[in-house]
Subunit: 215 residues, 2 copies
């Protein structure tokens, strides 16, 4: 099996913000929602919004737009957010703890059922209701839980070693919050989350503004 | 002034991962680094890497590649990561606390100098060495600190209200970790960080794999 890129990746990335806007409008009592209204809320072109929503399998009605409830269901089903997915988390530091307590992820069906750390003071404790286990037993614990998804929030230096154990334990999808480009078998999915990228964009925009003003 | 999009945004987003790889290779003693090696580490096309690096103003030498130290300096200067930028953070919840303790951001020059919260138990305390102030005095505190960047980690329902105060206090750049599309004047830069987008991609990839297997 070879690694496949998702051609619709930018569209998929936009779906969560559509969902948020649609839920808000639906809560205010609207039965139908137009692509133009969603586009206006998010500063996008209406044609872009309609194309993006089409990948979830829904099409709007001329003049009326999309039925709100069906649209929400369509997006959530496409994203798999209508199902609970169990996951483990490796590395109970600041970021790991924050992710376990992040309500957005829970509301999207992501349920962390076990966490792992090397720190003896953390092992055995509960963080946001999730028990922390020793990394030493990670392989057998994950196997007995039969979990397929792992969130990786260890220090960079530990990332590859942790990933190797996860793969051996049967993990097939890793949400990687470290800086390390992980080496994993082709059949394992890795999504790398790089918070620094956002700061890179922000700084470059700030500098562009500064240059505009001084011109 | 109108809002300008950065045409090079995808390139800018990739620069942090280049920087990480280059620093690692440089630490191992290499004086020169080729675009092909960086590309190999990150699963990208060499031509893409060379184009991306060119926006920082550096060009490699045929056969030798880029001088490692100069390349690091060039990227860091382009991103403004060679300078300290002071910031405030609004909303000292799980995510806010994690960001204040996130070593990556500190190493990129981002220094949170004050945090704000509504919770009386948090006000006056220090989180990762940063004092928490009451939101009530946010306007005057930010003005006296003369800070221009704010990290917004409040609940969605509080996001717009907080943004309004930030803008009045002279903030010109907001790193928005909420789900809300903020309404701000054109001259204020907003970078929206949506962690759920990564989970959306991950789920869709998992489902695509499952379908492949069952075909």
């Amino acid at each position: 099996m070879t690694k496949k890129k998702i051609s619709a990746a930018p569209s998929v990335r936009r779906l969560p913000s559509y969902l948020h806007v649609i839920k808000q409008i639906e809560k205010e009592g609207s039965e139908y929602i137009s692509g133009t209204v969603i586009a206006g809320e998010l500063n996008l072109e209406p044609i872009q919004v309609r194309k993006d929503l089409a990948i979830t399998g829904i099409t709007g009605k001329p003049k009326k737009g999309y039925p709100a409830k069906a649209l929400i269901t369509s997006i959530e089903r496409f994203l798999g957010w209508d199902e609970v997915q169990e996951a483990v988390l490796v590395g109970v530091g600041n970021l790991g703890s924050a992710l376990m307590g992040y309500p957005e992820l829970r509301s999207h069906g992501l349920k962390v059922v076990a966490a792992f750390d090397v720190n003896p003071e953390k092992i055995g404790s509960f963080v946001h209701g999730v028990q922390v286990y020793p990394v030493d037993n990670m392989d057998s614990t994950i196997k007995s839980l039969a979990v397929k998804l792992a969130l990786l929030t260890v220090p960079n230096a530990e990332a590859q070693k942790s990933a190797d154990i996860l793969v051996r334990a049967g993990i097939t999808a890793v949400w990687n919050f470290t800086k390390v480009k992980l080496k994993v078998p082709d059949e394992v999915i890795v999504e790398k989350e790089d918070i620094s990228s956002g700061y890179a964009i922000l700084r470059v925009m700030q500098q562009a503004r500064k240059n505009e003003k001084s011109e």
